[in-house]
């Protein structure tokens, strides 16, 4: 974890920037630059000006621009390309560093492969899909796969950051394990589900590498617009030479290339791929692996969120709210027994029982004397408890406790069973408490809506996103929780089929649907949804079906995924606006400089009062290059996301990046011109 948080700590870490600097020079290769037509034009222009400079060195034609000017323009044009490359390289570097930290955990893992019933030691990298490996307590799981035999508790903190161990067992929805996690207890056999280089991590790493990255539809559309603008400016600049010749003005190559490069949208053109990569990287930073850039973009467009109630809307852990004693048992006795049985239980449910006892019955937690033994929760017994002063106290699922007392010759009273059924019907969870063979009563655990979730849904509503709660509860309970949580709609008694039908119905209305899921029976819905976030704890089938995997298995993350998607589009939008708005000032800097020799009357157009035509053109070129570097942090971080309505967001962005984009370069170019003048470069 340390290496990853270190990367996250600073945006432009030297460890990332240093290799990026080298990369940005490597990326000057025309074949690489040609993928980005805007920057390719700049590179061709840079080469052209460099050639002009060389020609001037050898045979200077009369009336040519001063050599220092041509050289300076050439250098800054090259810098423009390098800066754009740097943006991409830094974004890639950050993504790679992130992914490498994840990958490191399992590169050297030895694996105990099962072949014809015999074990053999092989490196994890040699494992193929379908291989079976044995992992025992203390060992690292060598690759992604499914548990096919046994049950074990697994420490997944290496990828999730969550320290509490989780149970993984064969069959069912908790069979998936991830490479790099550690088995804490027991022994399992894992069937490896991916070939080397195809795991989620490998795919994610490919996605943050610019070369392998597929452009998303929206990025393609923007690219078309940028290329269109570039062509317009190419024509405008190329035709200006004969048009000016009509007025007896000879325009030099250097000045025309400078004008062209300043006008074409280099700012957004140079940062576009960095924005895309940074979007993937931001998700990765939130411990979400996206399978494609398209999925991230779709997240920004989502109209409907299908949210599982448990874990997303309500605390995954239910809270104790009530004690229901068995016939003939005093509530105080039940409460006391429940407290004792829960003292060592560090789960939120356990703690909530202790708290409830304290609040309702004034019984404080006590120091137990010697001679007590805690019985920890185990996956097999599904009970925990405490043996103290000769009493054997247990609490757990009603059926587990029933089996437990039955084995001791006791019996679950009918009244208690009826009460348990009532609690279940109401959407709650009953826990039974027993002492020896005697059932004392029930603890009523109830759903508690997460704090702040209501406000969050309101923000989504403001953005036009509808939230639908999915729950297996009956409609009455579902309605109550939905009201409390403030979701727009709910689907009660949801079956996988109903979920799938709901997604299809929404999509038929043209809406984009996002959902989270973990079970195998979620797989069809995850595949159908436009954005399907599978929980890392979920089954392999669920993970294959979705287009994102949340390593933390936190369903609330969906909301953040949507925000990252929106941020991605917004960052592109504002930088495009900024880039185009910049052109106004550049026109006012360069055009008077080009024509003022022939038409001194054009001086009023030089509103910035730049020192000389040379310094004016050079200042515009330098500004054009520097602005790319200055905006790299914005491209990487994304614009700040505000949950406002579309019109409000637009007004803000237009003010900052539209109006600001017009004004800023006037100031910037003037400052650079003053600096050049101070250095006697004019």
């Amino acid at each position: 974890m340390t290496s990853r948080s270190a990367v996250a700590a600073s945006l432009l870490d030297w460890a990332v920037v240093r290799p990026a600097l080298l990369d940005s020079l490597k990326k000057l290769s025309p074949r690489q630059v040609a993928r980005n037509p805007v920057m390719f034009v700049v590179e061709v222009g840079s080469a052209l000006v460099t050639l002009v400079w060389l020609r001037d060195l050898i045979a200077r034609s009369p009336g040519a621009a001063p050599a220092w000017f041509t050289a300076a323009v050439a250098i800054w044009l090259w810098f423009t390309v390098i800066f754009a490359n740097l943006a991409e390289a830094v974004a890639e570097g950050r993504g790679k560093a992130q992914a490498a930290a994840l990958r490191r955990t399992r590169s050297d893992t030895p694996a105990r492969r099962l072949r014809n019933g015999r074990e053999e030691q092989v490196p994890a990298t040699a494992l193929r899909k379908g291989d079976q490996v044995v992992v025992e307590a203390g060992q690292v799981i060598p690759g992604d796969g499914d548990v096919v035999e046994g049950i074990a508790s697994v420490d997944e903190s290496a990828i999730t950051g969550e320290s509490a161990p989780v149970i993984r067992e064969s069959g069912g929805d908790r069979s998936a394990v991830t490479g790099g996690t550690r088995v804490l207890s027991d022994r399992i056999v894992v069937s490896i589900s991916t070939d080397p280089g195809e795991s989620f991590l490998d795919r994610m790493i490919a996605l943050v590498e610019g070369a392998a990255r597929q452009k998303t539809p929206n990025e393609v559309a923007l690219h078309i617009l940028l290329v269109g603008l570039t062509i317009i400016f190419l024509i405008a600049c190329a035709t200006l030479v004969p048009i000016a010749a009509f007025s007896g003005i000879q325009l030099g190559v250097t000045s025309m290339v400078a004008l062209l490069v300043c006008l074409i949208p280099t700012t957004i053109g140079g940062l576009l791929s960095a924005i895309g990569i940074a979007g993937m990287d931001r998700l990765l930073r939130k411990n979400v692996l996206a399978m494609s850039g398209r999925a991230v973009e779709a997240a920004g467009d989502v109209d409907v969120l299908l949210l599982d109630k448990t874990g997303t809307i309500t605390l995954g852990n239910r809270m104790a709210t009530e004690f229901i004693p068995a016939p003939g048992v005093r509530t105080e006795d039940l409460a006391e027994a429940a407290q004792l049985a829960s003292l060592a239980d560090e789960t939120p449910e356990g703690r909530s029982i202790v708290v409830l006892v304290k609040e309702r019955h004034g019984l404080r937690g006590r120091e137990l004397g010697a001679g007590h033994a805690f019985v920890p929760f185990s996956a097999q017994t599904r009970m925990s408890g405490c043996d103290v002063d000769g009493r054997s106290l247990r609490k757990g699922a009603v059926d587990a406790v029933a089996r437990h007392v039955a084995s001791l010759g006791g019996q679950m009273p009918g009244d208690v069973e009826a009460a348990a059924a009532r609690i279940g019907d109401g959407g709650g969870t009953p826990l039974a408490v027993s002492e020896g063979a005697r059932v004392l009563g029930l603890i009523h655990l109830k759903d508690v809506v997460k704090g702040g979730i209501k406000e969050r849904f309101e923000r989504f509503r403001a953005m036009g996103i509808r939230t639908v709660m999915i729950t297996g509860d009956n409609p009455r309970t579902a309605a109550a929780i939905a009201r409390e949580a403030g979701v727009d709609d709910y689907l009660a008694e949801a079956t996988p089929e109903a979920k799938l039908a709901l997604i299809r119905a929404e999509q038929a209305k043209g809406r984009l649907v996002a959902m989270t899921g973990d079970g195998t029976n979620d797989a069809p819905a995850l595949a159908q949804a436009d954005v399907g976030v599978a929980m890392n704890t979920g089954t392999q089938a669920a993970k294959e079906a979705g287009n994102m995997v949340d390593l933390d298995s936190n369903p609330t993350k969906l909301l953040e995924v949507v925000e990252v998607g929106k941020q991605l589009l917004m960052t592109r939008g504002v930088l495009t606006t900024f880039s185009i708005a910049n052109d106004v000032a550049k026109y006012f800097a360069i055009l008077p400089a080009l024509f003022v020799a022939a038409y001194p009357e054009l001086a009023p157009l030089d509103v910035m009062h730049l020192t000389s035509p040379w310094s004016a053109i050079l200042s515009a070129v330098i500004f054009n290059a520097l602005i790319i570097v200055l905006l790299i942090p914005l491209a990487l971080k994304g614009v700040r996301y505000r949950p406002l309505g579309a019109a409000a967001v637009l007004r803000r962005s237009l003010l900052i990046y539209g109006v600001g984009g017009v004004v800023a370069p006037f100031a910037g170019i003037k400052l650079i011109d003053m600096a050049l003048t101070a250095m006697h470069l004019y």
């Binding site: 559309a221 269109g228 603008l229 048009i243 003005i249 920004g300 953005m463 589009l569 939008g573 579309a646």
Partner: protein, 571 residues
């Protein structure tokens, strides 16, 4: 700005605004609901279908629509070319004019087919009455109707509820064409022509009169069937005058009232089409947003021309000339600065090209406005139909940029704007400068273009204006050229044809790709395309795209001319 100019603007805007809704509703009824007057006009419509063998109930996809339009335009262009070439042997030629030269006939046929009506000839000394009425007036109706067809097709593409099962058709070109003529252009032309005749606009088949003036000099007074052409010239944003002097000629535009009505006629259909679009989009605010954006750009242009033309003509500075009326060079004393400014703004906003004064003689900044109006893409109300489909392409562009900024894949009327539409919209935007700038550059350096009447920046403006007017299908001129040279007749002919059809095809293709998309109901997260914010943004995008494209060339033309005039240098 003078009080008179402001009052004139208020009256004009009020009349246009009042006519927009009823005419827009009428147009909606004609094209999208049940056309009115089934017994009279309906019979005529059905007769047209019977004669041409068109089945009005079948709809066309964008390709079929485009092919029909191209086929129709090509055939009628050929027909006009033939009439012009053969006019010597055809009836209604009392002056006995010879056949029109091949390159001029090509230029004229292209000009009228494309709704440009650039005239490299003087009508009264070149064209027989048959050529005027059948060869040219025919196009005045059909080219306008074809433009309306494309606008309707694009509006249908954007507004129809798409879906996987819905048909991907955009209407039927032949039906749109026929209805535009039968229900809109023909009846209104008939009625207004009668009114014009009552005001003194000529309508006669008599030959020209030879008169002896008071000074005893012989003078030929050209006559002809003017009124019948005059209405459609304005109403169809054609602009090709019967006489060379166009609407400055007293026989075309005799009174201040006809002058005002002529300007209203330029804008009335393009303005009404914004309402029709709103109706089709089931939200009138969508239409009014376009109307508002167009109106703002119109008022800006009108303000600048009026201001510029009320200033004295720098060429007359220091002479004993009373310039208190403003720059009166090239203006009719009958109309004065204000009425000429209004006409010049409207005619270049709306790709009409009719004139009641010489744009060439405007002060530099006054002359800048007509040029810029055309260069903004002829979307300020624009040509009949062409204005609506033009501004809708800008709407797509605006929605795309704005949509990104609110963090959603951009949508227009609930339909997503995807790479294909962006590609087509970009092509649409590109074609115009791609034609005008290289052709202007060529004219600037090629000896084939011949001499330009004026040197320096004004000469450059004349070259730039000619190709801008051609590709923008406007047809007004800045004079100064030897426009009968093959360089100009053929160059401008190609300029006009490509400027019309290469822009109309991407517009139709956008319609074709949008019509199949499913429209999603708008929510608070959708970027609204019907408020003032969107209108303002649309204006900004139109201005920015225009300014970025044309600023360098304009700097060397009218802008530097303005500064030079301030320094006492005129051309």
């Amino acid at each position: 700005m003078s009080t008179a100019a402001i009052l004139q603007a208020i009256a004009f805007v009020a009349v246009i605004a009042l006519l927009t809704r009823p005419l827009g509703a009428y147009l909606y009824r004609v094209y999208e609901a049940r056309p009115p007057f089934p017994a009279t006009l309906g019979r005529l419509e059905r007769l047209c279908y019977r004669l041409s063998g068109v089945d009005p109930s079948t709809e066309q996809g964008w390709v079929a629509y485009a092919v029909s339009l191209l086929l129709f335009s090509a055939l009628s262009m050929l027909g006009t070319y033939a009439i012009l070439r053969a006019q010597a042997g055809l009836p209604w030629n009392p002056q006995g004019f010879a056949g029109v030269a091949p390159d001029l006939a090509f230029n004229t046929a292209a000009s009228f087919t494309t709704n440009t009506n650039w005239q490299s000839y003087s009508g009264e000394s070149t064209m027989s009455y048959l050529s005027q009425s059948a060869g040219l007036a025919w196009h005045n109706f059909t080219s306008a109707a074809a433009g309306m067809g494309v606008a309707l097709a694009l509006a249908r593409g954007l507004t129809r509820h798409g879906g996987p099962d819905s048909p991907r058709t955009l209407g039927n070109f032949w039906v749109d064409l026929t209805r535009s003529i039968v229900y809109v252009l023909l009846p209104s032309s008939l009625l207004i022509a009668l009114f014009f005749a009552s005001q003194g606009v000529l309508q006669t088949l008599a030959p020209s009169l030879e008169l002896t003036t008071l000074e005893g000099v012989k003078q030929v007074l050209a006559l002809g069937p003017v009124a019948s052409q005059e209405v459609i010239k304005q109403l169809g944003t054609n602009g090709g005058g019967f006489f060379n002097a166009n609407s400055a000629h007293p026989f075309e535009n005799p009174t201040p009232l006809t002058n005002f009505i002529q300007v209203v006629m330029i804008f009335v259909i393009p303005a009404a089409l914004t309402w029709t679009y709103g109706r089709m989009a089931r939200s009138q605010r969508q239409g009014w947003a376009l109307f508002g954006a167009m109106l703002a750009l119109f008022l800006a242009g009108y303000g600048v021309i009026t201001w510029a033309e009320h200033r004295p003509n720098p060429a007359l500075a220091g002479l004993a000339v009373d310039q208190s009326a403003g720059n009166m060079e090239g203006k009719e004393v009958r109309f004065g600065v204000d009425a000429t400014a209004l006409f010049a703004t409207a005619t270049t906003d709306a790709s009409c090209g009719a004139v009641n004064g010489m744009h060439d003689s405007f002060n530099p900044l006054g002359g800048l406005v007509p040029l810029v109006n055309i260069q903004l893409g002829e979307v300020i109300f624009g040509g009949v139909g062409a204005g609506l489909y033009g501004i809708l392409v800008f709407v797509i562009l605006t929605v795309f940029i704005a949509g990104l900024m609110v963090g959603r894949t951009p949508e227009l009327l609930g339909k997503k704007i995807e790479p294909r539409e962006m590609k087509l919209a970009t092509i649409y935007i590109l074609i115009f400068p791609l034609l005008v700038l290289p052709l202007t550059a060529w004219a600037a350096v090629s000896p084939a273009a011949g001499a330009v009447a004026n040197a320096g920046p004004h000469g450059l403006s004349e070259l730039l204006y000619a190709f801008t007017s051609g590709a923008g299908n406007n047809g007004s001129a800045f004079a100064g050229l030897d426009a009968t040279k093959p360089f100009w007749t053929i160059g401008l002919g190609v300029d006009m044809l490509l400027g019309r059809f290469f822009m109309l095809l991407p517009a139709l293709a956008i319609a074709g790709s949008m019509v199949g998309k499913r429209a999603v109901e708008p929510g608070p997260g959708t970027f609204p395309t019907d408020g003032w914010l969107f209108g303002a943004l649309l204006v900004a995008v139109i201005l920015v795209v225009g300014a970025l494209t044309w600023f360098p060339a304009l700097t060397l033309g009218p802008i530097v001319e303005h500064y030079l005039a301030g320094a006492g240098k005129v051309f």
